[in-house]
């Protein structure tokens, strides 16, 4: 018996370890009401402990690498690579001024929308509070699109909080550790988010596929869905606030399992492969945040100041107009006007003759009754041009006019020189 264990000890150890892991896996899987197996979304105490240990072991070196990288980047960007910063700053200042005015107008609309929603007993949740975090690591596996951020329970993060960037949504917090958190990206196969197509208003569920692409599943085939259409969060999943950008439709493919359905492949708005800074939404409220309200007040103050400045300018110009002598006094005859010049009695205030009379030339406009309007043919428009060319002061005859009537494409281009006034 002893020789059996010694002889097959390698195999026995292998089988023992495999068996232990299989039992451990069986504990983590459960069956749904529909009879399908699924992973338990809530980790058991043992599993959570293993994850905690692994995280505690990997996070400090990752944080160290990340800080080193940030330090190098910061040194380069803040001290060495400062070209064109002044110009950029000026441009950005102009953009801020413009956006503040636009924001004031948009927030007025949003306020009106809020009032209407309150009337309809429907409350739109606005992003009220966020926590900025750095992505410091990933799962390291193609089959698991999760990443780690450097903020955790110490910043009041909780599971199922939405994680976004300025470009669009990124994922949701899956697990929270003391000083870090695990975020499930939206391109994972097990993720899900309610989305809506911006123009067609078709709703669907967003998830990832095996290639790490985003796709909206369970949509009935619809010809209106075209590449380039924007995809937004629908707000029904109670994780992502409504209206956040998700991406744009890249292509529409047939669902391999169901004939009448299609899968919409979406190009993500956020750079999911190279995430650096993200925002975890820690609170949503049916009102604007303090910062937004301050921005609104600033915008309104600026808008009011700009309107007051314009009003002041108008008022000043009116006062100046009253005080200065007028160019034309309606009470005086023409020969006694202040600016009347009696030295040149032959001066006639006629507009100069046009070299190429057209329908905008005074006196040269064709009769609308003859149908020579905007849609008229070259044959029609050539007639008045020929008639006017006979009266030209430089004496040019009708031959010099391009023959649009017969062969306009063969007419030679003419070089016109500025004519002296006779």
């Amino acid at each position: 018996m002893e020789s059996f264990f010694i002889r097959y000890r390698n195999l026995l150890v292998l089988l023992g370890i495999l068996l232990a892991q299989v039992i451990g896996l069986a504990v983590q899987v459960r069956q749904t009401d529909a009879g399908r197996n699924t992973l338990d979304p809530q980790d058991g105490p043992g599993v959570r402990l293993i994850r905690l240990w692994a995280n505690a072991l990997v996070t400090p070196p990752e944080r160290l690498i990340h800080i080193s990288k940030l330090g190098t980047d910061s040194f380069w960007q803040n001290y060495l690579d400062l070209r064109h910063v002044r110009e950029q700053n000026q441009d950005l200042q102009k953009t801020i001024d413009r956006l503040r005015l636009e924001q004031a107008a948009l927030l007025e609309d949003a306020r009106q929308g809020q009032r209407l929603q309150a009337l309809l007993d429907f409350q739109q949740k606005y992003i009220y509070k966020t926590v900025a975090a750095q992505a410091i690591g990933s799962s390291g596996s193609d089959q698991s699109h999760v990443f780690y951020i450097d903020k955790g329970a110490d910043y009041q993060l909780h599971p199922d909080m939405a994680v976004i960037t300025a470009d669009g949504i990124v994922g949701k917090v899956r697990d929270v550790f003391p000083h870090s958190a695990q975020v499930l990206a939206i391109n994972d196969q097990t993720s899900g988010a309610g989305v809506i197509l911006e123009t067609t208003r078709i709703r669907g569920i967003l998830r990832g596929n095996a290639s790490g692409q985003l796709q909206i599943v369970g949509i009935l085939a619809d010809n209106r869905i075209q590449p380039g259409e924007k995809v937004l969060t629908a707000g029904g999943d109670l994780i992502f606030p409504r209206g956040l950008p998700v991406g744009v439709v890249e292509k529409v493919v047939r669902d391999p399992d169901r004939d009448s359905f299609v899968d919409v492949i979406v190009k993500p708005a956020a750079h999911l492969d190279r995430l650096d800074e993200v925002l975890a939404i820690t609170a949503t409220e049916p009102r604007f945040s303090t910062e937004q309200q301050q921005d609104l007040a600033t915008s309104e103050a600026l808008k009011g100041a700009e309107a007051a400045a314009i009003k002041e300018q108008k008022k000043a110009s009116e006062i100046m107009a009253e005080r200065l002598p007028g160019l034309v006094d309606p009470n005086l005859p023409p020969d006694q006007q202040p600016l009347h010049d009696s030295s040149n009695p032959n001066l006639v205030a006629h507009p100069p003759q046009a070299l190429h009379p057209d329908r905008f030339t005074p006196g040269g406009a064709p009769d609308t009754a003859t149908g020579t309007g905007a849609g008229s043919t070259p044959e029609d428009t050539a007639k008045p041009a020929q008639a006017n060319s006979q009266d030209r002061p430089d004496g040019a005859d009708s031959k010099s006019v391009p023959k649009a009537k017969t062969k306009p494409q063969q007419s030679k281009p003419q070089q016109f020189k500025p004519q002296e006034n006779p």
Partner: protein, 173 residues
């Protein structure tokens, strides 16, 4: 003659490493595996813990040690994902055992054989992963074999560079 016996040859070619190497090299592999995909994006076609497991299993030529190391690395990798703990563990356990078992029987000093082994064991690891996920657990999983093929090639290329470097760590008499 006992000198020509298989056991003597095996004992002679067992490699020994400093204790720190057993601790730091796997840890470095796990940390880099978690960090590098952030830098390389979707082109992170490699599995450093697998390469390290194969290296130590081939060098130590002990199936038990290879099994334990594979299990530890796999469970650690699983702990960093959101999947069940044990899927990668089983895959790496099998790989560690196979690598050590093969290391006893064939000459693993040959560089080409080492690379070929890494390539084949990478595919074996992927196949075991799919088997456990789909058959054993009965879970839905879309799978892209091209990615696994690229990963196997990437592992071989990394092994080409990493194995000679790790060889320098071994204790020589």
């Amino acid at each position: 003659m006992p000198v020509l016996g298989a056991n003597f040859r095996r004992d002679l070619e067992i490699r020994r490493y400093p204790v720190l190497a057993y601790a730091l090299v796997p840890l470095a592999a796990l940390v880099l595996q978690a960090w590098l995909p952030r830098v390389l994006g979707p082109y992170a076609w490699f599995d450093l813990p697998l390469v390290v497991t194969v290296y130590f299993a081939l060098g130590r030529r002990s199936p038990i040690q290879g099994t334990l190391m594979g299990a530890g690395m796999g469970i650690f990798e699983d702990a960093l994902t959101h999947h069940a703990i044990g899927i990668n563990g089983i895959a790496k356990t099998v790989v560690g055992f196979l690598a050590a078992s093969v290391g006893i029987r064939i000459d693993v000093e040959n560089f080409t054989i080492r690379l070929l082994l890494v390539f084949l064991l990478s595919l074996a690891s992927s196949a075991t992963y799919v088997f456990v996920y789909r058959v054993l657990l009965g879970l839905d999983l879309e799978w892209n074999w091209f990615t696994e093929l690229f990963t196997a090639v990437g592992n071989s290329l990394i092994a080409m560079v990493l194995f000679p470097l790790l060889d320098r760590l071994q204790i020589r008499d």
